[in-house]
């Protein structure tokens, strides 16, 4: 549990010496409780107080990283159980598997398929994060070559599923890329030693939470530090329940010995991996391994992840302003929409598909969709007229005609009245923009005469 100001106050010297810059020890305790100060600022504090308070300040679920550089994957480091309590920081990482025993061609084409599991949505790249390499050949040399080839071809960090021998060989080949080591359960100790020596992250599996608490202790005793915990569920239902247990132990229980990001292998014979994966994205899975490389599976999962891991306090938004579609001229159409990323990228995509150069005005409505912004009173005749006057569009075009989203047709009168611009009501859905724009007579955008 997080310490309260009173708990903290009890640990302080209570001399009100002011060395910390606060008038009293109690004021200082309140600063710490609010996360605005650290115990280091109180020189007279006892060792005990320092130890307790720095432990309490550490994140309840520690961070584990796999890979390096731009492709580094961060797991854990979460502070709440529900996104509305603050936000979730580190999206469930998704690995797609490949085996080392196929032909070179099969291997290459599977890697190519994994590389294609990368999509653009609302201005963000959503993609599979890691490649999980399964040792099916049992041969150390072959496995190590496959690891090097998989990393080389995709640039994605690796999750190495193998017995101790092949695992050690693969580590020789790709250690600097910081792979995650996944030994068979019998080989936990040698793999933990290897992870300790090479400072690599280690996947620890055991049956259930009790089993994990033993296996994690063994891995720590062997010197491994960076761990992910796999409670080895047999069904999607067990998986959700065990992932929840682990997350609650970390966040509610502050049980350090079990506070690790969770990892699940949903490949092999795991029943209904898609269902399990979707539920684990919503409920506390930190890392998932899937055998499917079908985009029809991965696109919905990655979209779900993108949805749930956005900050609930702040919709994904773009900057307001005047955007050019193609190379517009002074007689090109002027359209307006809002700065919610989903709205902007949808409208932008549809406008581009029209192949009619145009100006797109993006109104600042704190990242809300057209109707939401209208309902919230942020996309109004007044705000739109103000934007028309101030954004500089009047100098870019010689006409005074604005195309309004069909859903807010009711704003046209007010805009015409306040701004002097003429309003054309566009279609309700921007997907109808291509045919709409192509049908507009050029006379719609003739210059205005004094």
């Amino acid at each position: 549990m997080a310490l309260t100001a009173i708990d903290i106050y009890k640990l302080l010297p209570k001399t009100n010496c002011k060395e910390c810059g606060q008038p009293t020890c109690l004021a200082f305790a309140m600063q710490i409780a609010a996360g605005k100060a650290s115990i280091e600022l109180c020189p007279p504090a006892s060792e005990e107080a320092k130890e307790k308070l720095s432990a309490a300040a550490a994140p309840p679920l520690p961070k584990v990283t796999i890979g390096t550089g731009e492709r580094e994957v961060v797991l854990g480091d979460e502070t709440v159980l529900f996104r509305h309590e603050k936000t979730f920081y580190h999206p469930t990482a998704i690995a797609v598997s490949i085996r080392d025993d196929g032909s070179d061609e099969e291997f290459a084409s599977r890697l190519a398929a994994i590389r294609r599991l990368s999509f653009e949505r609302v201005g963000q790249r959503i993609a599979v994060d890691l490649v999980a390499l399964r040792c099916a050949s049992g041969e150390a040399g072959r496995y190590a070559r496959a690891a090097a080839a998989a990393f080389e071809a995709t640039g994605l960090p690796l999750v190495l599923f193998a017995p101790a021998g092949p695992l050690a060989a693969a580590v020789e080949a790709v250690a600097p890329s910081r792979p995650l080591l996944v030994p068979t359960p019998e080989d936990l100790l040698p793999a933990a030693k290897l992870a300790a020596e090479r400072k690599l992250p280690l996947w620890v599996r055991a049956g259930g939470i009790e089993g994990l608490s033993v296996a994690l202790a063994d891995a720590r005793a062997a010197g491994a530090v960076s761990l992910v915990a796999d409670p080895s569920p047999e069904t999607p239902r067990d998986a959700v329940s065990l992932a929840t247990d682990l997350r609650r132990l970390a966040i509610l229980g502050r049980v350090r010995d079990l506070a690790y990001p969770s990892a699940f292998d949903l490949g092999g014979g795991f029943p209904d991996p898609f269902l399990a994966a979707a539920l684990l994205v919503a409920k506390y899975g930190s890392l998932l391994v899937l055998d499917s490389a079908d985009p029809a599976d991965l696109l919905p999962l990655l979209t779900l992840r993108q949805n749930l891991f956005t900050d609930p306090q702040r919709p994904i938004q773009v900057e307001a302003g005047v955007y050019a579609i193609g190379t517009p001229s002074e007689s090109s159409p002027v359209l307006i929409t809002t700065n919610f990323s989903l709205t902007y990228f949808t409208v932008r995509g549809d406008s581009e598909a029209a192949k009619v150069p145009a100006y797109l005005l993006i109104a600042d409505v704190d990242g809300m969709s057209v109707l939401t912004a209208w309902a919230a009173g942020k996309f109004t005749g007044e705000s739109i007229s103000k934007m028309l006057a101030e954004c500089g569009i009047g100098e870019k075009v010689s006409h005074r005609t604005l195309i309004l989203p069909g859903m807010v047709a009711r704003l046209s009168g007010r805009i015409e009245e306040l701004s002097g611009w003429r309003v054309l009501v566009g279609p309700q859905e921007s997907s109808a923009l291509p045919s709409y724009l192509r049908r507009l007579p050029p006379a719609a955008f003739l210059p205005v005469h004094g």
Binding site: F82, F274, L279, A282, K283, A296, L301
Partner: protein, 306 residues
């Protein structure tokens, strides 16, 4: 070493609500739980229920839906039988969108006749959805309430029309689905308003508005979680079963656009889009799901555990 799990214990319990069935049919009871969804803790006397929409009016079905339900979708009676039979829907959501002036323009009495026919064709529990046009719905709900020969639920009662809808439902012994646009305070307000009218609380479902995957789903997810936690924590006005209609999933370009080959086969992608939306709703705490694709019924039933 033995590990003690920190399991939250809630003082509240979600009210049990039953969607009645006709003679020989199986009623659907949801609610009754005192714990969060999908977890083995606490009591969950009823599993979430997965139902299907029976459409009316002019339909422009995406290819994946046309292939699955096309032959039946134009005929509400045939569709209702198929949904409740082969496709395993535990309840039906009969949408009267066909009564919308832009959606087929069925008259109010034609809408009521469809209700009568569907109710006599199947004993499955039925929720009847309005057409979304305020003026038409103001005539439609009372007509439907009268036409329905057995108790059903009327969807939707919102702030503006709740007196009318609740009044019609009370007069003929129906339940209502209380709708609000992704807003916990309005969801609560709706239940208080219905209580003020003396509407029996065990005949009310909450519809929080379900955004499709990629198009507002996260707002729904969070509102459903918040409603559920508030209900379990003792807020009686929110301790009600939650219904999520997954229809918005089919508005997503990703669910229907066949031209993007890099997104995978659209025949598989569309149902996956609906299924994923539904799984997120179940994870958040939904008690009733309404699907459009038959495969979603089977798939989501696989996660609708107690």
């Amino acid at each position: 070493m033995s590990v003690t799990l920190p399991i939250p214990v809630f003082p509240g319990r979600i009210l049990e609500v039953t969607l009645p069935a006709g003679p020989g049919g199986t009623p659907v009871t949801v609610g009754g739980q005192n714990a969060l969804p999908l977890l083995p803790e606490g009591e969950h006397p009823n599993a979430p229920a997965v139902g299907m929409e029976v459409p009316t009016g002019t339909l422009e079905l995406p290819a994946a839906l046309a292939a699955a339900i096309g032959p039946f979708a134009g005929d509400p009676v045939a569709m209702a039988r198929k949904c409740a039979g082969d496709w395993g829907a535990r309840f039906l959501f009969l949408s009267l969108a066909g009564c919308h002036p832009d959606g087929g323009g069925l008259s109010v009495s034609e809408g009521a006749a469809v209700v009568r026919e569907v109710l006599s064709a199947t004993p499955a529990p039925v929720i009847i959805g309005g057409c979304g046009d305020e003026e038409v719905d103001a005539l439609l709900f009372p007509a439907v309430a009268e036409a329905a020969g057995r108790p059903v639920f009327l969807s939707y009662a919102e702030e503006k029309n709740h007196r009318l809808v609740a009044g019609a439902a009370l007069a003929y012994g129906h339940g209502v689905v209380a709708w609000s646009p992704i807003d916990i305070n309005m969801a609560k307000q709706m239940n208080l308003l219905l209580a003020d009218l003396g509407f029996p609380p065990d005949r009310v479902l909450i519809d929080p508005l379900t955004g499709g995957l990629g198009y507002g789903m996260e707002y729904t997810f969070t509102i459903v979680e918040r409603i559920r936690i508030a209900g379990l924590s003792g807020d009686a006005a929110l301790a009600r079963p939650i219904l999520c209609h997954l229809g918005d999933a089919w508005k997503a370009r990703e669910a229907t656009d066949a031209s993007e080959e890099a997104w995978g086969d659209v025949g598989a992608r569309g149902p996956r889009w609906e299924e994923t939306t539904g799984l997120a709703c179940l994870g958040a705490g939904a008690d009733l799901l309404v699907c459009r694709h038959p495969s979603s019924v089977a798939r989501l039933a696989g996660a609708a555990w107690r």
